[in-house]
């Protein structure tokens, strides 16, 4: 593999590991085995794995919410968790809970001020983001009345306020219905287009497949695989042909293939993904809004 120049690395971890002390009895629980990972600038990187595989731990280590037991992590060359690093990062927590006593606008203003923004600039930025996540109409409602998808979107807006170069997303679509989920996915792809780096965790493989350039698969604190999705998912020794055709042409192809001595030939109609089907079945309407 060609080494990545360090100025192109958004995130780099070297031997990063975390063990937790177990209460009551002695011993440790390895939440993350030494992890080497590089996320390149401008890519969408997915951390895949079931619950308890170390995805959240990794993200918390990158944010400085946890202190590593060993190893190190850097974000754009800065020590992970440092104030300087955090200035360039945005974070969407899992099942984001925000101060529910505030309304959408107040939440954004609160986090904006904490990010060091203020005045007209902040108000303008809030406006832009409300539009981006399609929540302009719900800005005066308290978060108590928001649906899960809306919370996730206000969470995204909050993470983007200070225009960070790196976005960390912990299970961004968990518990969100397909429509909301698709909305979020579109926003993420849009962000990538604008040159942002995205690192997200998920246990929903299908959704990862749709957006991630590269993924790492974690299991019980260990990294099992890492690579681009195309490389990882390619089935060697098989070729897939899709045709916009019906009738005898198909039979002819089969004949040619059989004659050529290829024994395993499978011909079927390609299936739509249920998600696509579901979304196509919905009546024509403005997507988003009050999901």
């Amino acid at each position: 593999m060609v080494p990545i120049p360090s100025e192109h690395k958004a995130v780099e971890t070297i031997g990063l590991s975390k063990k937790f002390k177990l209460q009551w009895r002695r011993g440790y629980f390895m939440a993350l085995e030494p992890l080497d990972l590089v996320v390149k600038q401008g890519e969408i990187f997915g951390l895949l794995g079931p619950n308890g595989s170390g995805k959240s731990t990794t993200i918390k280590l990158l944010l400085g919410l946890l202190k590593p037991s060993a190893g190190s992590a850097t974000v754009f060359g800065l020590k992970a968790g440092s104030i300087e690093a955090r200035k360039r990062m945005g974070f969407l927590p899992e099942n984001p809970y925000f101060p529910t006593f505030l309304n959408g606008l107040e939440v954004l203003r609160y986090y904006g001020k904490l990010s060091g923004l203020s005045g007209k600039f902040l108000e303008q930025r809030m406006e832009e983001l409300l539009e981006l996540v399609d929540l302009q109409e719900s800005r005066h409602r308290t978060l108590k009345t928001y649906s899960k998808g809306m919370l996730q979107r206000i969470g995204l807006a909050q993470a983007l306020l200070h225009d960070p170069d790196l976005l960390l997303l912990d299970e961004p679509t968990a518990g969100v219905d397909p429509l909301g989920s698709r909305q979020i996915r579109d926003i993420l792809l849009n962000l990538k287009k604008r040159g942002k780096t995205l690192l997200f965790s998920s246990h929903l493989l299908e959704q990862v497949q749709e957006v991630a350039d590269r993924v790492a698969i974690l299991h019980q604190g260990q990294k099992l695989r890492e690579g681009s999705l195309a490389d990882l998912l390619e089935v060697p020794e098989q070729i897939q042909i899709k045709l916009q055709s019906e009738g005898h042409t198909v039979e002819e192809i089969r004949k040619i293939l059989t004659d050529a001595g290829i024994s395993q030939v499978e011909i079927s109609k390609p299936q739509m993904k249920l998600e696509d089907y579901f979304i196509r079945s919905l009546p024509e309407r403005k997507q988003g809004g009050h999901v």
Partner: protein, 287 residues
């Protein structure tokens, strides 16, 4: 530095907003107001009794309400941030952890100051109305020397400027309690645990002076265990008896502003130490 101040104010403001929109704290505050107002309806007393009883009740109401808010405020708001993981979002911003601890504290102090202010105004109004009623009853004797004495003693009781000192002392005591509560919230996550430990400190704090004297006197004869326990109490826990000057003020005895200011200084330093310690511990905490 300026950014840090801005973040402190932002967190404090948010804490205040949250507290003001919380039902529990509002209920406590309302019942406090009712207690202060209700003290007006003490009847069947001589006017000397009346003013003393009124002040005792008024200050007790203010102090109980304030203590409850101080106890509940930190114990509710800080663990909630951790549990709901809003703290994760907050700390993903360029915010120092000590700014969170300090900001929370300042927000709570703002809350307590506002509540104290409102209750004091109410209390002042009650005193004033009572005074007018008593004075109206004394109109017949206003000419004689004895009568003038009586009227002077009524005014001395109802318009004693020292009552402001008493308020300052209550405020200082509440500031210390809040700091202790914030301290415990940075090491624990359970509201009940925080309330209980803070309450224990509150009660021991009222006995601290006794423990300190016993420790200093019997240091050479007492057992090691007893010595270490008493020393711990003397070293760690504030001496809440210090604030008993409030009693003196209500009794109408002279307390210099100097003494009050010294106690305020003591409180501010205690608060400072508690918050610095809390911040340092919180710095190390895994969230």
């Amino acid at each position: 530095m300026k950014g840090s101040l801005l973040r402190l104010v932002t967190i404090a403001q948010n804490t205040l907003t949250e507290a003001l929109r919380q039902r529990v704290l509002n209920v406590i505050f309302l019942s406090g107001l009712i207690m202060v107002g209700g003290s007006f309806f003490l009847t069947n007393l001589t006017f000397q009794e009346e003013f003393k009883f009124l002040k005792d009740l008024g200050y007790a109401a203010i102090s109980i309400t304030g203590t409850l808010v101080a106890l509940m405020g930190a114990a509710q708001l800080i663990p909630a941030e951790i549990e709901r993981r809003t703290l994760h979002t907050l700390l993903s911003k360029p915010v120092h952890r000590f700014e969170f601890v300090l900001g929370k504290y300042l927000g709570l102090i703002a809350l307590i100051t506002i509540m104290l202010g409102i209750m004091s105004l109410m209390f002042g109004a009650v005193l004033y109305v009572k005074e007018q009623i008593v004075l109206a009853g004394l109109q017949g004797v206003a000419e004689s020397e004895q009568g003038r004495q009586v009227i002077a003693s009524v005014l001395a009781q109802s318009r004693d400027p020292q009552l402001l000192q008493a308020l300052a002392l209550i405020w200082a005591k509440l500031a210390v309690i809040t700091a202790i509560s914030v301290f415990f919230s940075t090491i624990a996550t359970s509201t009940i645990f925080i309330v209980c430990t803070t309450l224990v400190v509150y009660f021991i704090g009222h006995l601290q002076s006794v423990a300190r004297q016993v420790w200093l006197q019997d240091m050479h004869t007492a057992s090691f265990l007893k010595n270490s326990f008493l020393a711990m109490v003397a070293f760690l826990i504030p001496d809440f008896q210090t604030y008993n000057l409030i009693d003196e003020i209500i009794a109408g005895n002279n307390i210099r502003w100097g003494s009050t200011l010294e106690i305020l200084t003591y409180s501010v330093i205690y608060v400072g130490v508690a918050l610095v310690t809390a911040s340092l511990i919180f710095e190390d905490r895994e969230l």
